[in-house]
């Protein structure tokens, strides 16, 4: 009687979500792992003979460079985003007056198309763009600078796009922090720097970790920013993977690249979290 009714509700609430997640998330991902060990067919299909050649291919210098470049760029992006973002979040959280407006302004980039935001920078940096125009008019340079299609442009594009993803979690974490802790530390004699290091940072660590992860992971796989702002001069993992799937049609290789990319990202994140865990004085998680 009672037991039967519970089962019915249970089924209704559990089955749809489980089915969908398993079928559209787990299975496709497992399939990717599977085909990463298969071979490319002549016409772009998949030949089901197992091999590890896809993985061994990545050992060559060319591919190692691509991986390395991607990680470096993702890492630099994260560092810059954190470096500029933390003070920003900290100062912004101090402003009490227009909190709602600030929250909206912080969230808006998160909700808008990152493509559009990238486009804005293309407009600014292109040879006939705003920045060059301003520099020429003021006489600082005579010829327009080639700013697009460089690693620098890609970096700016990445930092700009990922910045909100760092700031929002930081802001939430900092905002939540009870200022009483800072006052207590100061009351006990800690200098501002010491207070910051031993109280503020550990207490906002969840925000820092969240922000770094939210920036680093997408950064590794973002391909349209290097595509648009770096052109063929910049080849990163994202572009490489995309090419395998949409142009070169070497799906098994693309799958293998993806798997390695995920692994690298996960390992780096684990290392990061471990380091933070050890050094955090309070270990507040």
């Amino acid at each position: 009687m009672k037991k039967k009714k519970v089962d019915f509700t249970k089924i209704l609430t559990i089955v749809p979500i489980s089915f969908w997640m398993l079928f559209f998330v787990a299975v496709p991902l497992l399939y990717i792992v599977f085909i990463s060990f298969m071979q490319r067919g002549n016409d772009g299909g998949i030949v089901y003979t197992p091999t590890i050649s896809n993985y061994t291919r990545m050992g060559s210098a060319l591919y190692v460079k691509v991986f390395w470049d991607s990680i470096v760029i993702a890492f630099v992006t994260t560092v810059f985003a954190l470096g500029f973002g933390y003070p920003f979040a900290y100062f912004a959280s101090k402003i009490k007056k227009f909190k709602i407006v600030i929250m909206l302004l912080l969230m808006a980039p998160f909700w808008t198309n990152s493509l559009i935001r990238t486009y804005g920078w293309i407009v600014i940096l292109s040879t006939s763009g705003v920045l060059n125009h301003a520099l020429i008019i003021t006489g600082i340079i005579k010829e327009p600078l080639k700013m697009l299609y460089t690693y620098g442009a890609v970096m700016i594009g990445m930092i700009y796009t990922m910045f909100p993803f760092m700031v929002l979690p930081l802001y939430n974490s900092i905002d939540k922090m009870d200022r009483a802790f800072i006052e207590a530390a100061k009351d006990l004699g800690a200098s501002r720097l010491k207070t910051f290091r031993t109280v503020t940072i550990p207490l906002t660590m969840p925000g820092i970790v969240a922000g770094c992860i939210l920036v680093f992971i997408p950064s590794v796989g973002l391909f349209f920013i290097p595509d648009l702002m770096g052109g063929s001069n910049v080849m990163l993992i994202g572009n490489l993977i995309r090419n395998q799937f949409l142009e070169a049609r070497d799906w098994p290789f693309g799958a293998a690249l993806s798997i390695v990319m995920i692994f690298l990202s996960l390992i780096l994140i684990l290392v990061y979290v471990k380091i933070i865990g050890k050094n955090s004085d309070m270990g507040v998680f």
Partner: protein, 262 residues
């Protein structure tokens, strides 16, 4: 306490960063009204580029596609996400931990991985790539946003109102209909709105699971960019920005309203 100078510097820094964030966007919007094609010299206000957009069949198709996909994906993910949130928050079952984990995967992994995995999967199923595959893909990454939102609302839910309703004669389904849903509704809506905006703005996944006939707006922008800059792109971007901003504000208003009820 803190010196005024320091305060001023802090504020200046905040404003500077906000400017950094919004100047590129402002430039796009402003120059969408530029009378000439230049992205530098501003010669006069015109709506020509917007009218050109409305006359561009491709753009209109892409717009309709994007809206349709977003609407349907949001609707489906709202239902599955809400019901799933109730299941995950209140029920115990084998494999619950695994499903809990799976929910986070679409949010945490790079979109490109989701894109290629679905590409490969749909191919293996020999499906045609088009609106359907886009809807399935979008729903997949929208569900977690609704689910997590509703789940966190359920976590703080006072079960005694449900018991009271049962006590007064309501069957389980009636309780769900008259008590549970009305009370979690704001969470469903704000989750759905986020899902809608994300679906509308998605670029990477669209790359992989769309077909030749089923362009979406972000893809259209991307291909227009390939051809070079033009104020039409600015106009298109401005419209998209406006749409997203409206959805964002609506969702925040819902959140604030919800706080009043509690």
């Amino acid at each position: 306490m803190e010196s005024k100078v320091l305060r001023r510097l802090e504020r200046a820094y905040v404003i500077l960063i906000f400017a950094f964030l919004y100047v590129p966007i402002a430039i796009i919007v402003i120059y969408s009204f530029n009378a000439t094609k230049s992205n530098v010299v501003f010669s006069g206000i015109t709506l020509d580029w917007y009218t050109a957009l409305f006359n561009d069949d491709d753009v209109i198709t892409a717009l309709i596609n994007s809206l349709t996909i977003a609407a349907i994906s949001t609707a489906i993910s709202a239902v599955i996400g809400t019901v799933g949130a109730i299941g995950l928050e209140r029920q115990k079952f084998k494999g619950k931990g695994a499903i809990d984990l799976l929910i986070y995967i679409p949010i945490v992994i790079p979109e490109i991985i989701m894109g290629i995995s679905l590409l490969v999967f749909f191919s293996a199923l020999q499906m045609d790539f088009g609106i359907l595959t886009l809807i399935l893909a979008h729903t997949t990454f929208c569900i977690p946003f609704v689910l997590i939102n509703v789940k966190s609302r359920l976590a703080g839910f006072d079960m005694s109102v449900e018991e009271a309703a049962m006590d007064l004669g309501a069957s389980k389904f009636t309780v769900f209909r008259t008590i549970t849903i009305p009370l979690i509704f704001p969470a469903i809506i704000s989750g759905a709105m986020l899902a809608f905006a994300l679906s509308l703005d998605d670029v990477i996944i669209n790359f992989f699971v769309s077909g030749p006939e089923s362009t979406t707006l972000p893809i259209k922008i991307f291909s227009m960019l390939r051809f070079g800059l033009s104020p039409e792109i600015n106009a298109l971007c401005t419209i998209m920005l406006l749409a997203t901003f409206v959805v964002l504000i609506l969702s925040q208003v819902t959140k604030l309203k919800k706080k009043k009820i509690e």
